[in-house]
Amino acid sequence: MEDFSNPDTEGSDSLFEAPPMAEQERMVEAVLFASTEPVTIRDLEARMPHGCNPGEALEYLRKRYEGRGVRVVRVGEAWAIRTAPDLGFLMQKEIVETRKLSRAAIETLAIIAYHQPVTRAEIEEIRGVSVSRGTIDQLLEMEWIRLGRRRMTPGRPVTFVVTPVFLDHFGLESARDLPGLKELRAAGLLESRPPPGSFPLGQGSEERGDDDEAGDQPELFES
């Protein structure tokens, strides 16, 4: 029992003092190591003894692993340990052949990531062709995208957003960290700009008028 050693915890509501921070750091380390999936702070809280502060422990842990062979990385609302990218060459044995994505799938994925939440009609408008069922299915199956909220426009179309699995795969802390996002937004290329008059490609006219969603953009990962 390592008690009364941590001055930070004002454990008035707790029977026992929380463990010292060094101990909490060990706990976080063990849990992150043991899990292949990213672990949320809430999950850490639920597992660790009452009164722990996993967020702070994580911060220490992250510093400790800076420059090492493995790193503590943030994935959306969760945390994981991953090997340092510069050592990838050692891992030939671990590489799992991933399904090759079609160009259509890659573009669709990028559009969802940068424009989310985005409807199928909007994806089609940007690409100028219709999106095949298989493409969306594949991305859903890989759990890189999921259904987001319905758009509050006539027909209430479903939207697509990217998932934490997507962030984990591409080593992104959040969808805000997508490369070039700021520049694209500044250039107005992420706006859904209605065409003047009629539209040559003829799609998605029933989905117009969603500009009020622009303010919705920052809240990236909620359901």
């Binding site: 340990i81 990838g88 100028g128 997508l178």
Partner: protein
């Protein structure tokens, strides 16, 4: 292939130009729709997509469609619709604006097309950058061996929204594809009813509600009740025809009653 000479003035195309153009046309399958083709053509202008000459672009596109048609390549409707629209846009851009004319000006339409092209190009670049990132399982790795400590084994069941919707879609679309079969399990046939009533009718001296002849277990489910009622009624009529029972109904929608015709068995 040299991109700037793809579509020279129509008077004297060199062999090289023609070959290049044909290569492009034969490659039409490689394009993902008219917008993709326009984007590729616009690269020949080598300027910022915002300052692209839509007029020039329209000319190139129309020339492309012409040549493709000459080579008897079947062009998808999308491409022809775009061609018609670009021809319209071209006329708008060339002719002085008609003050009577409603709707967006040629410049507005051209600006929007330039915007669409720029946005598509931006998304392509973004996609390339995304795929160029270090990727999990290729450049960096997760724990190879997650530890499992055998202690408490709780089973939780999971399902996601996709499962749910696919499950529902599966049920609701099953009928579209199922070859026609009668659902026999909630159908009570007249033969069954007749057999049942022949066994019971001998004990009925006084008027009895026909519905009391419905078999057990066929009362509550509306589908089954309907089927059993119909079969029992038809069986009753058969028995009347055979002279074994009498039927009566005091008024419209009143219960139908039946009784055994004595001595005629």
């Amino acid at each position: 292939m040299s991109e700037d000479t793809l579509f020279p003035e129509p008077d004297e195309p060199s062999v090289e130009d023609r070959l290049a153009a044909e290569a492009l046309i034969v490659d039409v399958d490689g394009y993902e729709g008219p917008l993709d083709l326009l984007l590729m053509l616009s690269r020949t202008q080598k300027v910022d997509l915002r300052r692209i000459s839509v007029l020039e672009l329209a000319r190139q596109y129309l020339a492309f469609v012409e040549r493709a048609k000459e080579l008897r390549i079947e062009l998808a409707a999308d491409y022809l619709v775009m061609a018609a629209w670009l021809a319209f846009l071209k006329s708008r851009l060339l002719l002085p604006p008609d003050p009577e004319e409603e709707g967006p000006s040629g410049e507005e339409l051209a600006a929007h097309l330039a915007f669409q092209l720029e946005r598509l190009q931006a998304m392509r670049d973004a996609a390339a950058r995304l795929m160029g990132r270090d990727q999990l399982g290729r450049d960096f790795f997760a724990r190879g061996q997650s530890e499992t400590v055998e202690r408490i084994r709780t089973v939780t069941y999971s399902a996601n929204l996709l499962d749910l919707m696919q499950g529902y879609a599966r049920i609701r679309t099953r009928d579209d594809f199922r070859p026609f079969v009668m659902d026999r399990d909630s159908v009570f046939t007249m033969e069954e009813a007749l057999e049942r009533m022949r066994g019971l009718i001998g004990f009925t001296g006084s008027w009895t509600d026909m519905l009391s002849y419905l078999p057990d277990g066929w009362h509550s489910d509306p589908v089954k009740r309907r089927s059993a009622t119909a079969a029992t009624f038809a069986a009753s009529l058969q028995l009347v025809k055979e002279g074994q029972v009498e039927l009566r109904q005091s008024e419209v929608f009143a219960p139908i009653q039946l009784r055994h015709v004595n001595g005629n068995t």
